[in-house]
């Protein structure tokens, strides 16, 4: 073979290599439309690694429990349900691509959100563009910018979530008769929305805001921030943070201390089993939001206790590396897919217009009680709790499964303890 021939063969080989490389992406795109007896596919991204993995993993297990339950009952529209999910790594940039993949490659019938406001926000433009029903899991005011009529979410923060979320907390701190407040929030969608609502509540109470700052989400040392807050001598210290920040702030406050009578408010992550046992007695005194705690008066969500028990048994039996308690997200993650299933079965066909209309006008009975969606797909009433961490003796996880470590301070009708100044419990 001449040298020129050899060259041409190599060029053709190179061209062939590219052709194969291009085809690799093409072959992954299925072409056949779903047949009627194929499973109903529900697609979502979930934080299985990264900062929100503590919540994401327990949500996934709860959704899988629902999948088993619904399939035993005959599925949706007589078809079995299949969950299609990808790890978004708690990274918003991965979300649009994942939803595009779910809709165009996996050809899912429905998409629901991953866990958390920051991961719902980047999915919104994708679903709005496709004009499909979108169920959100713990989204804080995600729809205020879009007013998208097919968005529904399961965070029980009421019709005005930014304000409603911290409403119980501000009710609980009235016992201290505070005059000044410091506000600190992570510079992320959820925390910013939360702080916005807290500022409104603070103003409504006539509190003077002496400190109002944000911190970048990747902050690791919070001691300078806590010292800066302390220099303003606030009566109350409101914090809106994501798990990494929450943990860092609890440790920084344990190190530096504070004279504020109430500390906490919107600290995500303190409800995770891993963080609770890890932080142990450092949590004493923190006054924070929650949705479900093992207190005797916890009757807001009638089906939740049974579901949590099933979840805990499953985690133990299958030795799953997830949150061992599941109080924080399990009932909600179960409920948001359950509501979707109920709506589709009631409508009797996959018609996003009709399903959205049904979701708007119906009151659903779920493991978290009756759920009715109002404007912007938010709950019509707030059911957020204010709880105070009290009497935590060590890092043993078992103590958090019993009443007394997270006492309910508000709503008043189910309160199980008296709110105490932060330093009295340290």
């Amino acid at each position: 073979m001449t040298r020129i021939m050899k060259y041409r063969v190599r060029v053709m080989l190179l061209a062939g290599l590219f052709a194969v490389a291009f085809m690799l992406t093409s072959v992954t795109a299925p072409v056949a439309q779903a047949q009627n007896k194929d499973p109903i596919k529900i697609g979502f991204s979930m934080a299985l690694t990264g900062a929100l993995a503590g919540g994401g993993k327990q949500s996934l297990v709860a959704m899988q429990i629902w999948q088993d339950d619904i399939n035993k009952k005959g599925g949706i529209l007589g078809r079995q349900v299949e969950l299609v999910f990808y790890d978004d790594q708690t990274n918003p940039k991965n979300v649009p691509g994942i939803y595009s993949k779910l809709l165009d490659v996996d050809k899912v019938d429905f998409v629901v959100s991953g866990y958390g406001t920051n991961l719902i926000a980047p999915a919104m433009p994708v679903v709005i563009d496709r004009d499909i029903v979108f169920m959100g899991l713990f989204g804080m005011n995600n729809n205020h910018k879009w007013n998208y009529e097919k968005y529904f979410q399961i965070l029980p923060a009421g019709p005005s979530p930014a304000v409603g979320f911290s409403g119980s907390w501000f009710e609980a701190i009235k016992a201290f008769k505070p005059k000044t407040i410091a506000l600190l929030a992570a510079d992320a969608e959820f925390a910013q929305n939360l702080k916005e609502g807290a500022v409104e509540n603070a103003k409504a109470m006539g509190l003077e805001i002496v400190y109002n700052q944000n911190y970048p989400p990747n902050t690791s040392d919070f001691t300078p921030i806590v010292r800066a807050v302390n220099s303003k001598k606030p009566d109350i210290f409101y914090i809106a943070s994501y798990p990494n920040g929450s943990s860092g702030l609890v440790r920084a406050i344990a190190e530096v201390g504070t004279d504020a009578k109430a500390v906490g408010g919107g600290m995500v992550g303190l409800q995770y089993a891993g963080l609770m046992s890890g932080l142990g007695p450092n949590l004493n005194g923190f006054l924070n939001y929650d949705f479900f705690v093992p207190e005797p008066t916890m009757n807001l969500y009638p089906g939740a206790s049974n579901l949590i028990e099933r979840y805990q048994k499953k985690v133990k039996a299958e030795n799953l590396k997830v949150d061992e308690l599941g109080y924080y997200l399990v009932p909600w993650a179960y409920a948001y897919v359950d509501i979707l299933g109920q709506a589709v079965n009631a409508v009797g066909k996959i018609d996003h217009e009709a399903i959205a209309e049904y979701l708007h006008k119906t009151k659903f009975t779920t493991v978290v009680g009756d759920v009715q969606f109002g404007e912007n797909g938010e709950w019509t009433e707030s059911k957020t709790l204010a709880v105070q961490y009290q009497g935590i003796k060590n890092n043993d996880l078992d103590q958090f499964t019993k009443a007394g470590t997270r006492k309910i301070m508000f709503p008043a009708d189910i309160k199980t303890g008296e709110v105490k100044p932060f330093n009295e419990l340290r």
Binding site: T25, T49, N91, A121, M124
Partner: protein
């Protein structure tokens, strides 16, 4: 044939448009976009890094400036994608010129560290700029029926040039990628490319021979920065969301360096080969087994090529044919 390359460019663009016209699975446009973006970024990096021998770790900085210029224009004026690309190119080009002026006296690892610092400084700045979303990031909903001079060019019901935004952005990215390759080839074949090569071989000797080294390097940083900025400008509209972590991600710096290295840094086709190959493998990995394995694949391929074929795939092919 004299204009073989230019005709090839036009054919590639026609193929890209026909690809959007076919309205195949929308995911293919989503997967194709980053590959084309990588072609552009790798080509832009290669102008300074491959021809001039100055290793730039600040790709994410230039890309982020492009992205956030686009975000600012959307927020401020509701600007369309064409305006975003042009202005982002000008802003990033100016940044390239300024950074070049201050850092080009540094060489080797010192220059690389200085450019790496650029990305970090810019990310911190954007983190604290609320108008463009701050650290929380910002979401967009692209217009469903955008118009240019009264003509609707995206309409899902047909009758327009494109059926949806992803197709449109895919085509825009294809135009930009071809444009950047054309620029790189023109530089390589011209006086500028020869001058940059002489700088890479021996800067002092080049200076002694009368090569205006500073001027050439400034020209290269400006062009390279401008192209990276343009590639970044389309990013927010494509993702429909942008935050500083995404826009200034070091992954871009690693990719922009690895792709020309794997493809071959001495010719315009090298970065194209590297970007298409690596970009496709990465997109394939995301869909099939794991999105986390991207950088691992990149690392393994980089080690393999640096040891087995230090002049990249193209170099290996050419050597075999000598």
């Amino acid at each position: 044939m004299r204009y073989k390359f230019e005709i090839g460019c036009i054919l590639v663009l026609l193929a890209a448009y026909l690809f959007t016209y076919l309205e195949v699975n929308r995911f293919l446009y989503v997967a194709g976009f980053p590959i084309l973006q990588f072609v552009m970024i790798a080509t832009a990096w290669n102008i300074l890094g491959g021809y001039g021998g100055y290793i730039n770790f600040g790709t994410a900085g230039f890309l982020g400036v492009g992205s956030y210029t686009a975000v600012a224009l959307i927020q401020w004026l509701g600007a369309g994608i064409v305006e975003q690309v042009i202005i982002a190119g000008v802003v990033a080009g100016f940044l390239g010129l300024s950074i070049g002026y201050f850092t080009l006296r540094l060489k080797g690892v010192y220059f690389a560290i200085a450019t790496l610092a650029l990305a970090i400084v810019l990310e911190t700045f954007v983190n604290n700029w609320d108008f463009v979303g701050g650290a929380a990031g910002i979401s967009f909903l692209p217009p469903r029926k955008p118009e240019l001079l009264g003509y609707v060019f995206i309409d899902s019901k047909g009758g327009a040039l494109f059926g949806n935004t992803k197709e449109y952005l895919f085509f825009i990215m294809a135009v930009l990628a071809v444009f950047s390759v054309w620029i790189a080839r023109s530089i390589e074949k011209g006086k500028l490319g020869r001058g940059l090569n002489s700088i890479k071989d021996n800067e002092e000797a080049a200076e002694c021979m009368g090569v205006p080294t500073l001027r050439l390097k400034l020209f290269a940083t400006t062009i390279s920065g401008s192209l990276m900025g343009m590639a970044g400008a389309v990013f927010p509209s494509f993702l429909t969301f942008i935050d500083p972590l995404t826009a200034f991600n070091l992954e871009f710096a690693v990719n922009s360096l690895a792709m020309p290295m794997i493809g071959g840094t001495f010719t315009w086709i090298g970065p194209v080969v590297g970007a298409v190959l690596l970009g496709t493998v990465q997109q394939w990995a995301i869909v099939t087994f794991s999105s986390e394995l991207n950088l691992l694949i990149l690392g393994v391929l980089l080690i393999f090529f640096v040891t087995v074929a230090p002049h990249g795939i193209v170099g290996w092919f050419m050597k075999k044919n000598k």
